[in-house]
Symmetry: C2
Subunit: 610 residues, 2 copies
Amino acid sequence: MEVLRNNFEAFLPTIEDAIAEADFIAIDTEFTGLGIEKSFQIDYLDTVQERYAKCKMSAEAFQTTQYGLCTFSWDAAKHKYIAKPFNCYVFPATGNRVLGLDRHFTCQASSLSFLRDSKFDFNKWISQGIPYVNRDEEAKARRKIGVLESEDDVPITGAKRVYVDEVMETIHLWLQNAPDRTLDVPTPSRFHRRLIHQEVRKKYKSALRTVGKDDKIVISKQTDEERTAMASDRTKQLTDELNDLIGFRKVFELLSKSKKPIVGHNMMLDLLQTISSFHKRLPDDVREFKSTLANVFPIVYDTKHIAHTNPTVSPLLTKSVLGDVFTRISCPPFRYPAIGIDSGFSGYDSGEQNYHEAGYDAYITGVVFAKMAALATNTVEGQRIALQSPALMECVNKLHLMRSDVPHFDLVAEEDLPTRDNVFHVFGFEKGTSYGDVQKEFIGLGQVGLAGFESTRCFIIVRDESKIPDVISTYGEIVVDVEDHAERHQKTFSYQLETYADYMAKKLTRQENGLSSSLSDLRRTTAAKRKLVDCESEDTATATATPNFSPGSSSASLPDDPSVSDSVKRQKKSSVSHRKKHRTASKLLHEAAKRHLSTSANSSSSCTIV
Amino acid sequence: MEVLRNNFEAFLPTIEDAIAEADFIAIDTEFTGLGIEKSFQIDYLDTVQERYAKCKMSAEAFQTTQYGLCTFSWDAAKHKYIAKPFNCYVFPATGNRVLGLDRHFTCQASSLSFLRDSKFDFNKWISQGIPYVNRDEEAKARRKIGVLESEDDVPITGAKRVYVDEVMETIHLWLQNAPDRTLDVPTPSRFHRRLIHQEVRKKYKSALRTVGKDDKIVISKQTDEERTAMASDRTKQLTDELNDLIGFRKVFELLSKSKKPIVGHNMMLDLLQTISSFHKRLPDDVREFKSTLANVFPIVYDTKHIAHTNPTVSPLLTKSVLGDVFTRISCPPFRYPAIGIDSGFSGYDSGEQNYHEAGYDAYITGVVFAKMAALATNTVEGQRIALQSPALMECVNKLHLMRSDVPHFDLVAEEDLPTRDNVFHVFGFEKGTSYGDVQKEFIGLGQVGLAGFESTRCFIIVRDESKIPDVISTYGEIVVDVEDHAERHQKTFSYQLETYADYMAKKLTRQENGLSSSLSDLRRTTAAKRKLVDCESEDTATATATPNFSPGSSSASLPDDPSVSDSVKRQKKSSVSHRKKHRTASKLLHEAAKRHLSTSANSSSSCTIV
């Protein structure tokens, strides 16, 4: 079902009902770009905070163009799931200038071409997209409605000054002498009218009212009642407009209030786009983001994460691109559950593919989820999927991370980071040194991966575990006397090498000491900005965050289902105990930092800080 | 004539001929935004450098969507001008990833809505827009073609590592033992094929060639000739693609080479967009920009500037918006010259209005220019306009400046800035102080304009000259003893006040001393970046810049026309002598700075630097 600006209000109850009766809801977003510039580029060795920061930058720069959601509810009579897909064009709200709503956003040329190739209708997007205003923007607009004096006055000079002064004198005389309630002032242009509006408002406030006509302004005296009505009329008119412009955020809030499981495919950016577009400014700290998201969507499933990690499903797949997975799950052993599209929703069950239309992608994501979930939980024909089964609880609230050695992005706990004992920082080489040069240099280590390549540094990832212990002794020291070290490696080009832990320790130390003074100004500014945003009160819609696994009603019904709460608890506990077994990332880094600080005083080798 | 990607090459000779025979060429651009954020906002008291910096920021953030040009050539037989309007959709080039062409650009929501309301077809823009690549982008892409190693390698781990190692071993055995020229390697996915491409290229360079098929890779041994051909094939293919993608820049270069008069309406942003999109990065310094533009377009007429300043035309106009001016010049006393649209160019002479279609706006801008120029130069029926008449030379190379007390933006000389003796800096007041508060405070000064309003400061512009001498004595001092100063003004709120000259002097001093150390790092980075751009060689197309007032041929014919050179010289001379009569802006500020420095040591009043 295509939802546009002109049918949005009519469809909203249908969307509300569909969400209320759903077992789970799949989502997908299309946006104006992904980011190819350096600052956006993900790196295999990104820390979770770094990766989040890059995704945040992308979500804030680019704009959602289409939001797809597809609800799936179990039909007990027909023993199948009924899907209701909604494909919504969304375009950032503009409106009366006073409201200050007019997003600036970034487009990436190739992304627009890609969307157009996928039949995205940009004309429809701009003229028929459902508007939206996030909470930060709404708060700012409401403040502006309160002030109502934000429009800049135009300075008046020369001939215009003479003209305006004459008009003001005429008004003065009319007020003193004439009994008429209105005065017509001829105006040569719209600009002249604007000046008269401005000067009369400034001088007489609401005692006079100015209404522009084709080539004149009609000025009228106001009674006390009219003055009060006029002020509240204007406020009411702007408030009504703002309420309309909130638009698609209402759907986001319905989704959030429902606390139903939200399903996406490779959905990190979808979630960040959702928060940034419809909720509020993304926090800088990844932990703060997780806490925000846990309030908004307490149950999240990423089908790409399931495809990669579920022991039943993963071996059956060779690719994890959405289209490929959808093709694969359409064949045995993927059989159940049966899924039909509600008869009121045309289109997607014809077999025709509409990849990259958000509604279609949401629909097939939901189908992929259901089929994988059924197989993973041994769900048989005619049976509803038990979403709280341990096999699924293993995957809940974990997002797939593209090109990363971090197993997943964990929405409710700190990630178990790889120790990266097999990663070494190679630095201080000359500009112009190539991938090939570095690979040749380390050929003795067997298969070596490269990451974070910059002009004078990179990381090497040693795949052969048996080689790891010798890396530092072979490559980390400068060969002083070649004769004495005949067996030792001679460097093919000049560089230094250190363990990943040492690199991170130095980086942390630098962050904590070195730059703090020169950056303090910048920090103060950033902190001040953040304060402005933080002071908005929490939305009541998302203040409570009890997850809702049970279909058909609001979260109020949740406490009746002990199995759910139990499994949620189990999941949390397992996550906690799992964490205990591993050193967490921050611990690891702090240990390394300590080690570095305690040894650096005695160390005779001078390490260049890069 | 609508020009799109698929008919561009076919129409290019028509455009070339039209430019070659033209007396003048009108241009207009449409773009993705104007900028409402603080950093873009123009202010009445902007210095020329500040205004340029804001326009530059806008031109760099937003993107040209449509370029209109309309050539006007005198038909001596028919005694009228023949117009040839071209409406060109332009979209930034993308292409092979190796070329690194993929602009990120900003859109402003309200601007897209505005364009859509004006019937701009965004679908056509994206899928049919003529590509373009400026010189900086081209140089970067050519470097990349030279290197051809810019694609990042994918790290290979786990099962994929095992798979790739097995394939590499198979290839090794095949090379050692098998006489066959080709080897088929089955591949489970596109990603597996990518890995094989990568590893084979890395290990065997061009000794082997890899070609991906549906579910396999075909690896073939290469002869020496094939290897050479393969390398140059790839280079040639990319070079050809890049040459195609230069696209609309070819039109810009034809315009520039012609040295013909370029006409626009309120064209500051059009010119900056033109340079930034099709030529090269805009310089930071406004003087450097003027020098760049003088090379590119040596003769420029802004019809809005003419409308505001020409003594014959200006009194006849009440508005200077393009549409209004066009309506006005369609009636007497605007009569000549006769203008017809070439029979091969349909559309714009039907009387139907297509405002904000770039081709149409370019056409009516040219008509407006011709009619105003004819009246200003007393051109009679059937006569060609003498573009080198003194009345027009007064207006050449001067751009209208919106909302500014600087009379115009001068493309060939430093502007004569107003002294701003009637401007005062009010600062140090409390946040929350409103426009109204400030206006009330200074009500004794008569009509007062406000500019540059920020939370704790603003400027007041005193219109009544007789009040200026008393401003400092009345408002600039703190009233210590109210009894003794019964006649003196008592402030309604706390603030300080200084002359504009003092404000600018302090600002200059701060820029020269205060921030230099803490910003040195930033400057180094910026300088390094700029160096990269500056090292591109000057384009030969724009190396010479002899203006071309004579229609029908290249600039080679120019020196034959002494009247032109003379009038150009006259114009320059007049501009120089005019400058001598006035203190220039920088002189003014330096004088003020000196004054401030010499007095501040003796001054007992402490001035807060804001």
